[in-house]
C-alpha cells in the first residue's frame, strides 16, 4: 500500500499535503493534552514500534507470508490521534531513510495508513466493543473487525487515488501521465487481495496481540482505556451513569418521534383559529383575544414545520433538535466559564488521562 513517487500527479500530492497539515497539528495537540511532556518518548517509541511491526512476517495458510500495517493495533493501544502521528513518522522514516514509499507521495500514504486506517479501525472497535470488560473476548473480536475494516478502507482510498489519475491527467491523445488504471480496474485490483488476504492478516495480528496482552500485560491495555472495567464481574458491579441513561433515552425519543406522523387527527388545543370546530365548543365566533394574538409572531423560520410533507417535517425536527443542543451546549459552556476557577484547577491536577505505572515486562499478573 506504500505508493511510490511517480504514480500520482504532484497536484494530488499537493491536495493531500494541505489537508494533512491541520490533521497532524490537531493530532499533536490532542496527544499533548493527554500525556503532557511524556508524549515525545511515547510517540517516538510508538513510531519505532510501528516501523518494526510492518517487518513482522506473518505465516498464512498457503505457506507464504504477509505483513500487517499495525495501524489498527496502535490506534487501540495508544488512541487514534497518537497512532496518526506514530504511523506517519514510521512512514516518513521509511520514505526518507530507506526509500520505501515516495517522498512526494508521503502525505497521501500518511492519509491512507496513518489517518484513515487507525480512525476507521478505532471507530469500529469502539462501536462493537461498547462497554465490554478490558479482558473480555468481545474486545478481541471487535478489534479484529475494526482492523479488517480499517485496512480495507485504506486500500479503497489508495485504489481511488490511483483510479482518478488517468481521467484527470492525460495527454491530448489519451496517453495517461501517471497511474494508467481507471477506477473500474484499480478498485478490484486493490480490493480483492486486501479483502481476501491483507485484511485478514491485519485482523489476525491485531486480535492475536490483544489476546496476548490480555493474558500477559494488562497494564499496557490501560494506556488508552484508563476507566474501563477489567473483568465482566466489574462491569456488572459498576453503577450505570445517569448521564448515559439520559442520553440514550433522549436518543430513543428522537428516533421514534416521527411516529407522530402516523397518528390521525390533530392535538387538542393546537388548532389554528380558522380550523376550530366552533359548534363543538358552543361558540358563535372565534374569541377576540385568540383572534388578536394568534398572528402575534409571524416570523417563524419553518412555519407549520414546512409545507406538510413528511420529509420537511423530519428536517424541521432535526433543525429543532440541533438548535436546542446548541443552546444547551452554550449554557453548559457559560456555566463552566462562570465557575471556571476551581474546575480548571482540578483538570490540571487530575486530568492527565494516562496515569499507568511503568509497566514491568513479564510480571504477568494484572494490576
Amino acid at each position: 500500500m506504500h505508493i511510490p513517487d511517480g504514480y500520482l500527479s504532484p497536484q494530488t500530492s499537493a491536495v493531500f499535503t494541505v489537508s494533512m497539515l491541520p490533521l497532524w497539528w490537531q493530532s499533536a495537540r490532542q496527544v499533548r493534552k493527554v500525556v503532557k511532556s511524556r508524549y515525545v518518548p511515547l510517540l517516538a517509541l510508538g513510531a519505532a514500534f510501528s516501523f518494526v511491526i510492518m517487518m513482522f512476517n506473518v505465516p498464512i495458510p498457503d505457506g507464504t507470508t504477509a505483513h500487517a500495517v499495525g495501524g489498527a493495533l496502535i490506534a487501540i493501544l495508544l488512541g487514534p490521534w497518537a497512532a496518526g502521528i506514530a504511523v506517519s513518522i514510521a512512514l516518513l522514516i521509511q520514505a526518507l531513510f530507506f526509500g520505501d514509499g515516495g517522498v512526494l507521495a508521503f502525505p497521501v500514504n500518511a492519509f491512507n495508513m496513518a489517518v484513515l486506517l487507525p480512525f476507521v479501525a478505532y471507530g469500529v472497535y469502539r462501536l462493537l466493543a461498547g462497554n465490554a470488560a478490558l479482558t473480555s473476548p468481545r474486545r478481541v473480536w471487535s478489534a479484529a473487525v475494526g482492523a479488517y475494516a480499517g485496512l480495507n478502507a485504506a486500500a479503497l482510498a489508495t485504489a481511488i487515488e490511483f483510479g482518478v489519475q488517468p481521467d484527470l491527467f492525460h495527454k491530448a491523445d489519451g496517453t495517461p501521465l501517471y497511474s494508467p488504471f481507471h477506477l473500474s480496474q484499480s478498485i478490484p485490483a486493490m480490493m480483492l487481495p486486501h479483502l481476501l488476504i491483507a485484511g485478514l492478516v491485519e485482523a489476525a495480528v491485531t486480535a492475536g496481540v490483544l489476546t496476548y496482552l490480555q493474558r500477559a500485560n494488562v497494564p499496557v491495555l490501560r494506556i488508552n482505556a484508563p476507566n474501563v472495567a477489567l473483568t465482566p464481574a466489574e462491569v456488572a458491579r459498576r453503577p450505570v451513569s445517569p448521564v448515559r441513561v439520559g442520553m440514550v433515552t433522549l436518543g430513543i425519543l428522537a428516533l421514534i418521534s416521527p411516529l407522530g406522523l402516523l397518528a390521525p387527527g390533530g392535538a387538542f388545543g393546537e388548532d389554528a383559529p380558522e380550523d376550530l370546530d366552533l359548534a363543538r365548543y358552543h361558540l358563535s365566533a372565534v374569541p377576540t383575544g385568540l383572534q388578536k394574538y394568534t398572528d402575534f409572531w409571524g416570523n417563524a423560520l419553518l412555519p407549520g414545520y414546512g409545507d406538510g410533507s413528511p420529509w420537511q417535517y423530519v428536517v424541521s425536527a432535526i433543525i429543532g433538535m440541533a438548535a436546542i443542543a446548541v443552546v444547551a451546549g452554550a449554557l453548559v459552556w457559560l456555566l463552566r466559564r462562570v465557575r471556571g476557577g476551581e474546575a480548571g484547577a482540578a483538570d490540571i491536577d487530575g486530568g492527565s488521562g494516562v496515569d499507568t505505572p511503568p509497566v514491568k515486562e513479564g510480571s504477568g499478573s494484572p494490576a
Partner: protein, 312 residues
C-alpha cells in the same frame, strides 16, 4: 564501494553484500515461500545493513556530501516536483541520466546505484504497469496486435506503451533522487534539515528518537527470533502456531517499547527536560551551496520549459 576505502568503513563487508534494494516492509511484491522466522530475521538485518551502508557512503568525500543538507533537501523536493510534472519521455530519460552523473560525482558506485534503483522497479512497477500497455486498459492505436475482439485488433497500444515508459522512467528518476539524498546525507544532518522545510522542532525530536530506538527494537526482534530459530527443529510447524508466536512477540515488543518510553521520559525529566527542544547544530551556507542551488533551479526551469515545447 571499493576496497581502498575499507579503512574508513566501520561496517564489515560481509554485512553489506547480498540483496541491495530491500523494502523493509516487504511490500514490493516478493512472496516467496520460506520460514517466517528466517524472513523476519533477514528483514531486520537488511534494515540495519542499509542504514550502516548509507552512513558509510555519506562519510565519503563527494559532490553531494559537501552540500548543506538543508539546500540538498529543498532542492531535492523541487527536482522531485519537476520530474513529476514532466510529460516528455526523452526529457525524463535525460533527467535520469543526470542522476547517474550526480551519483558518480558523489563517489557512489554507479552499478550499485543502478542496481539499488532498478532491482525493485521491474518487480513492482513493471508488473503493475504491464497490463496497462494493452488495449483493454489503455485504448488507442494498436501497434502490435495479439488477438481480435469483435473484429477489432487488440494488443499493445502506442498510448499504453508510451504511458508505461513515462511511469517507469518517472519512478526510476524519483527513486534515484531520493536514494541520492539518503545515501549522501548522514541521518542526523538530514533530520536537522527537516527543520528548514518547516517541520516543527517537536516532530523532528520525535523522528530522531524514533530512528534511534528503531534499532534497539530491531535488536530485540532479532534476539526473540534467533532464540525461536535456535529451539525449532525441522520446518517451522503449522501456520496457526506461527501466527500465535508472531502476535506474542509483537505484544512483548509493545510492552518493552512502552516501558522504555516511560524510562526515557524519566531520564529526560531528570536531565531537566521541560517539554521544549533546542538544537545545537548551526548550518552555514558556502559558495558550493549557492552554485548548486542556481544549477538545480536552472535545470528544473530548463526541463519544464523544454517540456512545454516538446510534450503536450
Amino acid at each position: 564501494m571499493t576496497t581502498s576505502t575499507a579503512q574508513s568503513q566501520p561496517a564489515p563487508a560481509w554485512l553489506l553484500q547480498r540483496e541491495v534494494a530491500l523494502c523493509p516492509c516487504g511490500c514490493i511484491g516478493k512472496r516467496r515461500k520460506g520460514s517466517y522466522v528466517a524472513k523476519t530475521l533477514s528483514g531486520a538485518s537488511g534494515v540495519l545493513r542499509q542504514a550502516m551502508s548509507s552512513d558509510d557512503i555519506a562519510a565519503q568525500p563527494g559532490l553531494l556530501q559537501r552540500l548543506d543538507p538543508r539546500i540538498k533537501l529543498v532542492s531535492l523536493l523541487g527536482l522531485l516536483v519537476t520530474v513529476a510534472l514532466l510529460r516528455s519521455l526523452p526529457l525524463l530519460a535525460g533527467a535520469y541520466v543526470v542522476t547517474l552523473v550526480l551519483a558518480a560525482a558523489s563517489k557512489l558506485s554507479v552499478t550499485f546505484f543502478i542496481k539499488r534503483v532498478w532491482l525493485f522497479i521491474p518487480i513492482f512497477t513493471g508488473i503493475v504497469v504491464l497490463p496497462a500497455t494493452l488495449s483493454i486498459i489503455t485504448p488507442g492505436h494498436v501497434v502490435l496486435p495479439l488477438w481480435t475482439w469483435h473484429g477489432q485488433p487488440q494488443g499493445f497500444t502506442e498510448q499504453g506503451l508510451h504511458s508505461a515508459g513515462l511511469i517507469i522512467t518517472r519512478v526510476a528518476t524519483s527513486i534515484s533522487l531520493v536514494v541520492l539524498l539518503t545515501l549522501t546525507t548522514p541521518w542526523v544532518r538530514l533530520l536537522a534539515a527537516l527543520r528548514s522545510i518547516g517541520v516543527p522542532r517537536m516532530f523532528v525530536l520525535i523522528i530522531g528518537m524514533a530512528y534511534r530506538y528503531l534499532f534497539l527494537l530491531l535488536d530485540t526482534v532479532d534476539d526473540m527470533y534467533t532464540a525461536r530459530k535456535a529451539r525449532t527443529l525441522g520446518g517451522g510447524g503449522d501456520s496457526a502456531a506461527g501466527r500465535r508466536f508472531v502476535a506474542a512477540s509483537a505484544g512483548t515488543l509493545f510492552g518493552k517499547a512502552h516501558q522504555l518510553s516511560e524510562e526515557v521520559h524519566q531520564a529526560m525529566l531528570a536531565r531537566g527536560y521541560t517539554g521544549d527542544a533546542r538544537s545545537l547544530q548551526v548550518f552555514r551556507l558556502r559558495r558550493i551551496d549557492v552554485v548548486w542551488t542556481i544549477c538545480a533551479a536552472a535545470g528544473a526551469v530548463a526541463l519544464l520549459l523544454a517540456d512545454r515545447g516538446l510534450g503536450g
